[in-house]
């Protein structure tokens, strides 16, 4: 009896050696022995009824041991086969990892939009809302209400495109100041980005460009608050060590008016090509809202005061990336658009 068990074991081992070259073949082999109906070991279980009762226990035990032994052997074999096949599969799937990648192209926001969004992020954190400008304005909002009446020489500071005697292409985003103050009571904190237009066309001037206006109207707003706000803004945009310098200037809608320079972010103020050796770069115009402008909008200048600033987005972007031709922004050359990325 034991010989029989041994010879089956032998048969299994030989089969494994000779025929089980794949998992499928191994599985076939397993079936030949372990299938409960057709397998050799399975059939031995059926022989139980023909075995003498006194040997039955032993026989049963032997068959069970054989079965367990076989099961273990086949499981081991299967593991081995699995491993072998995986190795083979991996080898077949070998690649040259230095071959080029499949490109997944992501586009980019326009450089001006990127700059715009950056500024909005900074000022939104300070409580500013965003008010979008009209591109076509009328004379009152673009000029008169901003303390630039018809005979005012400041009208010459901006060469205006006219559409009719009354309507024109906005020359500045400042009209938003008036629209906001007419529709809203203080406290007011708005940021108004927009396209503006001036009849000027060369390497540094484009007939269309972008500005962003900021306006705060509340109680006791001072020149020091303007300085504080702009200091914070330039540090967020140009880095922590950046400082501002105010110097007198003139805009009809602010009094006092200032030009704001930032310490050169290229050389840190030592003087370089970017700042033309001065250590400072002019970035925006600002001032205390002219009391006449407040009064034009029905805001009591005895109770409230305001500050306003306007920044040219093209200039800010050109400085940041060393772009020297403003026309690049409107030519939509993918070779340019693919390069500018802030995030």
């Amino acid at each position: 009896m034991n010989d029989r068990f041994e010879s089956i074991k032998q048969e299994i081992l030989e089969g494994m050696e000779q025929r089980a070259q794949s998992r499928a073949a191994a599985f076939e082999l397993r079936k030949q022995f372990l299938d409960s109906k057709t397998g050799k070991i399975g059939q031995m279980m059926k022989e139980m009824k023909n075995i003498a009762p006194e040997e039955r226990a032993n026989f049963g035990k032997g068959v069970n041991e054989l079965k367990e032994w076989a099961q273990q052997k086949f499981t081991e074999l299967d593991e081995k086969m699995k491993e072998k096949e995986l190795t083979l599969r991996y080898e077949m799937e070998k690649i040259d990892v230095t071959m080029p990648a499949e490109v997944m192209e992501t586009g980019k926001l326009h450089p001006i939009t990127q700059m715009r969004n950056q500024l909005i992020d900074v000022f939104a954190g300070m409580g500013f809302e965003v008010f979008e400008n009209r591109e076509i304005e009328n004379d009152y909002y673009n000029f008169t209400a901003l303390n630039t009446p018809k005979d005012h020489p400041a009208r010459d500071m901006q060469d205006t495109f006219y559409l009719s005697p009354e309507f024109l292409l906005a020359t500045q985003t400042s009209a938003a100041q008036i629209h906001t103050m007419e529709s809203k009571k203080p406290p007011i904190k708005i940021l108004s980005p927009g396209k503006v237009f001036r009849s000027d066309d060369d390497a540094t001037h484009s007939p269309m460009f972008h500005q962003m206006e900021g306006l705060v109207v509340d109680k006791k707003i001072t020149l020091c608050d303007l300085k504080g706000m702009l200091d914070m803004f330039v540090q967020k945009i140009y880095g922590e060590g950046t400082t501002t310098r105010l110097r007198p200037s003139y805009f009809p809608f602010t009094e006092p008016s200032v030009e704001v320079d930032v310490s050169c972010f290229e050389c840190g103020g030592k003087g370089c090509k970017l700042c033309k050796g001065t250590g400072w770069i002019e970035i925006l115009g600002a001032g205390i809202v002219n009391k006449k402008v407040l009064e034009n909008c029905g805001i009591d200048s005895n109770e409230y005061s305001g500050l306003a600033f306007g920044i040219g987005l093209e200039r800010a972007t050109m400085l940041k990336y060393g772009i020297n031709n403003i026309k690049m922004f409107y030519e939509s050359d993918l070779r340019v658009l693919k390069q500018i990325d802030d995030n």
Binding site: G107, A124, I136, L163, P187, D333, L334
Partner: protein, 806 residues
């Protein structure tokens, strides 16, 4: 404005370097655009005494022995005809730099460095110089214009640098003047600011003169248009002797680029530069009717100006007339008929204030801009109008070129030129600044600025000079104080009394940003194009004459025709952008723009036009197709929680069979399609291109849509593939619609194959769809999906004559 340092020093003591002065001006509001060193290119030129001078045989040259004092003695060859022994001339030593001239000895062609040389066998160590070679003109130094050596005075110190004696050690400040300070459009105006900034006294130019008592009989001046001419002053000068102006005056005029003409004309120019008040002088011999009349021009009235140009005028133009005819275009230029000549014997001087916008309009409409008109446009004050006349008459006396009569006419509106009193609260001034400026500082600053200040309690009383028309209220005082006190005193604060406000983007702004980011995520780059385009862009789109896109707003004064119309569609800008990319060698790409188109209610504009936010997408080259563009459209819809429908459509600039109208909830809001070959060809496209335009203003009505959540079904979905045979004209959309309507459980329909060919009849095509059914309240019964499929097939057969492919 050009301000020579030497001229400035006439009115104020300056004990700092030009560079320091530049900084001072900058910090008090006057940016120096350029600081010009007059003799920058001339160095190493000294006074030389020619001790020996012998002709070199058979040439026009002389070999000279030149004594240059402490620099040594040199042998120099010289070709000038006025070189002579005993003469003193500028000598450029070896290593010196001077101007290089052309063969005519007059035209400057750059600079040169003097080297040792040899001429006709003679060593030459240096060069004797002409005026031109040193950059000195006749007006700056007499004799400098001679085509030969510049002759230096006999008492010139041998070996001394020639620059101081030739006025080449001067500096010129090109100062930019802000529009609120027309009073600074003069040397004197800048001197006032410099004096205030340096705390020095201002020395006023002399204004005194004496009249002979003689009067011009029956002379009459009238101003008919006082709204355009609030002040007109005329003064009669006789026994005029026309001649050259003195050197000091010619030199100053030359430094700012003004040619010297004759003493009378030079006085008018000099006074304008010095005081900022344009002046004019008429030759009285040519004034008819013994009168001056200031009036509006008649329709089509003509004038020939000093530069011999004829202009046809209208009633918007102001003219100065004699008793008969116009003799000057007011504030712009005098008339040729009454110009000062060599023979002029009597002169009528004019100093007037004209309305600045009228001068600007005249100057613009006639295309004639002069120094005078530029000053009038910015504004001239009556204080200067009065004093300029006094100054001119003083100069007549000083130069001895005429007699000042007693005939003086001053027609005005009664405006005083005396200082006016102004009171402001010091608290309000400090409230603007946010700091407390010490009272003694305020007093010092306002005194230096000639405001004669005094303080009582919180009240600051100022005597505002008449030329400071810009001073109106406490903010103006605040500005004066801080620009002189120094902006570095302004310390950063952060609105300690302001209320907290909620900031950030509104819903529309957030949606637009989200949309832009989505488009970037599928590989599209954002563009920004001009809001205006060309009439030829409308032709590019092959639009018929009556197309709504042709109803565009015109710019009245465009830079050129290409930029003359406000966009009514974003398509042309995108087409041009694609063309440029193809041209630059970018063979494929995706672009988008979120911009505005402008739809007028009425033309010409009577109200704000509709500024419609519009999305335009352009894709080109590579593997792009109608369906990749449609995929982008679907992405737009998905981003905004919408669903779009597409119907075959047409646009003149798109492919007749690859164009669809996009609708959302039944509203048409745009199109997409392949660019027509007739459009692509002239643009030189090297591949295909597809365009899409969507009206975002229409879409914005659904910006309040949000993402919603449907709980996942507990029951399994089932799907069936159906291969259908149909007439070729039937569209995928039609089939999908029938399928969808046939069964409420259809969740998704996906076309996965289209076939035409041998296996089906020639006039048919086959489309294969995979249809997903989603159970709702309960799981599907064993045969329910089959029932739904049968219903679908029945409807397809009945409605579109579609069969299941066998």
């Amino acid at each position: 404005m050009l301000v020579p340092l030497s001229w400035l020093k006439e009115y104020v003591e300056i004990d700092i370097t030009p560079q320091e002065l530049e900084k001072k001006l900058f910090s008090c509001g006057f940016e120096v655009e350029e600081l010009i060193e007059v003799g920058k290119d001339v160095n190493g030129v000294v006074v030389g005494l020619v001790e020996e001078c012998d002709p070199i045989p058979e040439t026009h040259l002389h070999v000279c022995k030149v004594n240059a004092g402490s620099h040594g003695s040199f042998q120099i060859c010289c070709g000038a005809d006025n070189v002579k022994a005993g003469g003193k001339f500028p000598v450029a030593l070896v290593g010196a730099s001077v101007y290089m001239t052309a063969k005519d000895h007059k035209t400057v062609e750059g600079t040169m460095t003097i080297k040792k040389g040899k001429l006709r066998g003679y060593d030459s160590e240096g060069m004797l110089c002409s005026g031109v070679e040193l950059g000195v003109s006749e007006n700056m130094f007499p004799g400098a214009g001679y085509n030969g050596l510049l002759v230096l005075p006999e008492d010139a110190e041998i070996g001394a640098d020639v620059k101081p004696m030739l006025g080449l050690d001067d500096w010129i400040f090109d100062v930019s003047i802000t529009a609120n300070r027309p009073d600074c459009q003069s040397i004197l105006g800048i001197a006032r600011e410099v004096a205030a900034a340096l705390g020095k006294e201002l020395k006023m130019p002399s204004l005194d003169y004496h009249t002979t008592g003689f009067e011009k009989k029956d002379f009459h001046v009238s101003v008919d248009a006082q709204d355009l001419c609030p002040r007109y002053i005329a003064h009669y000068v006789y026994d005029v002797k026309i001649g050259e102006s003195p050197l000091w005056m010619k030199r100053r005029l030359a430094l700012v680029g003004q040619d010297a003409i004759s003493n009378i004309v030079d006085i008018t120019n000099y006074v304008m530069l010095e005081m900022g008040q344009p002046m004019h002088a008429f030759d009285c011999d040519y004034l008819e009717g013994n009168a001056i009349q200031v009036r509006r021009a008649g329709e089509d009235e003509k004038i020939v100006t000093l530069d011999s140009q004829e202009y046809t005028l209208n009633s918007n133009n102001l003219v100065i007339c004699d008793g008969v005819k116009p003799v000057a275009l007011a504030g712009v230029m005098g008339g040729l008929n009454s110009e000062i000549r060599d023979t002029t014997n009597e002169v009528m001087f004019e100093s007037a204030k004209f309305a600045r916008d009228n001068i600007r309009k005249t100057s613009r409409s006639l295309g004639k801009r002069t120094d005078a008109s530029a000053k009038y446009e910015k504004g001239v004050d009556e204080y200067s109008t009065v004093n300029a006349m006094k100054r001119a008459l003083h100069l007549i006396e000083e130069l001895g070129c005429g007699k000042v009569s007693a005939t003086h006419v001053d027609i005005n509106t009664g405006n005083s030129i005396d200082p006016r009193e102004m009171k402001v609260s010091i608290c309000r001034v400090n409230d603007v600044l946010g700091i407390e400026v010490p009272e003694n500082e305020i007093l010092r600053i306002m005194k230096n600025l000639q405001f004669a200040p005094s303080i009582t309690g919180d009240e600051l009383t100022l005597q505002v000079p008449a030329y400071r028309e810009d001073m109106e209220d406490y903010p103006d005082v605040a500005e004066e104080v801080i620009r002189m006190y120094g902006y570095d005193h302004v310390v950063p604060t952060f609105m300690p009394e302001a209320k907290v406000t909620m900031g950030g983007l509104n819903r529309k702004q957030k949606k637009e940003l989200k949309l832009k980011k989505t488009l970037c995520s599928i590989g599209a780059y954002e563009c920004i194009h001009y809001s205006f385009f060309s009439p030829s862009d409308l032709d590019l789109l092959r639009l018929p004459e009556d197309a709504p896109e042709r109803r565009a707003i015109r710019i009245l004064n465009p830079i050129n025709e290409e930029l003359s119309l406000m966009r009514t569609t974003l398509a042309p800008s995108m087409l041009n952008a694609i063309a440029r990319n193809y041209k630059k060698g970018n063979s494929e790409g995706r672009l988008f723009e979120l911009g505005k188109k402008f739809i007028p209610e009425e033309l010409p504009l009577t109200d704000y036009p509709d500024e419609r936010d519009t999305l335009c997408v352009g894709i080109f080259g590579g593997k792009e197709s109608f369906f990749t563009m449609k995929g982008i459209a679907e992405k737009v819809a998905e981003t905004l929680f919408l669903s779009f429908d597409y119907q075959p459509s047409s646009r003149p600039w798109l492919h007749p069979y690859q164009t669809a109208a996009i609708t959302c909830e039944g509203v048409e809001m745009g199109y997409l399609g392949k660019v027509a070959y007739e459009v692509a060809e002239p643009l030189d496209f090297r591949g295909d291109a597809y365009l899409m335009e969507i009206d975002m203003k229409l879409l914005s009505q659904w910006y309040d849509r949000k993402a919603s959540f449907t709980p996942l079904s507990k029951f399994p979905e089932e799907s069936r593939d159906l291969s259908l045979v149909m007439n070729k004209e039937i569209s995928c959309g039609q089939v999908e619609k029938v399928i969808k309507n046939a069964c409420a459980y259809v969740n998704d329909i996906r076309l996965f194959d289209v076939y035409e060919g041998e296996q089906i009849p020639a006039d048919k095509k086959s489309m294969a769809f995979s249809i997903a059914f989603r159970p709702k309240e309960q799981a599907f019964e064993a045969d329910s999906v089959d029932k739904y499929v049968n219903k679908i097939l029945k409807n397809l057969k009945n409605q579109l004559d579609i069969e299941l492919r066998s």
